[in-house]
Symmetry: C2
Subunit: 203 residues, 2 copies
DNA sequence: GAGGGCGCTGGACTACTGTCCAGGCCGGCC
DNA sequence: GGCCGGCCTGGACAGTAGTCCAGCGCCCTC
């Protein structure tokens, strides 16, 4: 579940290729998409989430707005894709069977938190975007949920239990939400979830 | 923390009365606001969240769009206010000291879930709106968070523990989020949280 | 070197959002 | 009765999002 050579932006699968966006992109297309996602990150860093516009991102990427809209339905779709790519590209910390289950879970969650820690603007942007109603975003959200659940499950290992996994998933959603909304810094996320894991799993 | 006679829509407190909206509304104003929130609910039931527009709601309420914008900055603000009012108006199930802490917590959460259970469209609308970036919405969100935490704390009673409360709050946020996103029906929310409560508190 | 197709262009266009303001209506007050 | 202030009206307005399409340029193939 890590990076694929040329990767289609998670789009249009609901309506199955409604546009010239195919499942597998040509090298040039993949490059355009990558330039767009990079430009989106730069734009968020520079102008914040409010200044973020598909048109602005397109300009920064040196691409016509219409082109950007070919690949991304909205700015939310664009930012959600950024997060999804980071998650896919991340190599999770290897599991250590000698440590406790809650320690492994904590590590897995810290990995995820690290994806955006230290970039509050980007973190907030990802959170907001991931919550959008846009169907393309919904698809990405679902994939992210699957990936996170898989990581938690792997971290639990022998301690796996459906109820425990469910509880951790809910708490993790809530924690990412609250951190994204600014109720506490992302740096605290891992700590808080560590406490939850200990409560649920024992030390 | 229940209904006040004339209640200002949770607006403009950040900039402290930026508009003719004062903390305490005249009877007529309160009536206008109530007509607007009612119309918003009717509109969501009728046309769904997508069909929801401040202008549409205003028309349904028999009010000029500009008037609606006097009280609500956006449709998200409007819908968030609907949820907040429902929460305030609800009389929570009385606490039963003879039952276990997890049972009391489950009941408290069931109360909250009941606010929107059975109206999926409205539930989805509230979830989405509550997540908006709009500062007016942020204020309402914060108040809702405070109220929910207070209810959980009361339900815990003697079993109160900061870490437990934190874990439950996170899980509840996550559960409301996931239910609102359609990952599972609101009817399941209380059950899932009951499981979490049992894990965290014991049976 | 010519042809063809893919991807990008750029600009027009529609729909909608939130803001603003001048004016009208209705109540209460002198 | 006449004035006045509070609230609402209605319509104009700018800014923006997403869609669409006719056309261009580049690269690959033959």
């Amino acid at each position: 579940m890590s990076s694929t050579p040329t990767r289609a932006p998670s789009s249009g699968a609901t309506t199955e290729a409604r546009a010239p966006v195919r499942r597998h992109l040509s090298e040039r297309q993949a490059d355009t998409v990558a330039r767009l996602t990079d430009a989106a990150v730069a734009e968020v860093r520079g102008a914040g989430y409010d200044g973020l516009t598909v048109r602005n991102v397109a300009r920064r990427a040196g691409v016509a707005p219409a082109t950007a809209y070919t690949y991304f339905a909205s700015k939310d779709h664009l930012v959600a894709e950024v997060f999804w790519r980071r998650l896919q590209d991340q190599v999770p910390t290897p599991l250590d069977g000698r440590r406790s289950a809650s320690a492994r879970v904590t590590t897995a969650i810290a990995d995820i938190a690290d994806l955006i820690t230290g970039e509050p603007e980007l973190a907030a942007a990802c959170t907001t975007s991931l919550l959008a109603g846009d169907p393309d975003v919904a698809r990405i959200r679902e994939q992210i949920g699957i990936e996170m659940a898989a990581r938690l499950r792997a971290a639990l290992g022998a301690a796996f239990d459906a109820d425990v996994l469910d509880a951790l998933s809910l708490a993790l959603s809530g924690a990412m939400l609250q951190a994204g909304m600014g109720y506490f810094p992302h740096a605290e996320l891992a700590d808080r979830m560590a406490t939850v894991a200990r409560l649920v799993l024992g030390p």
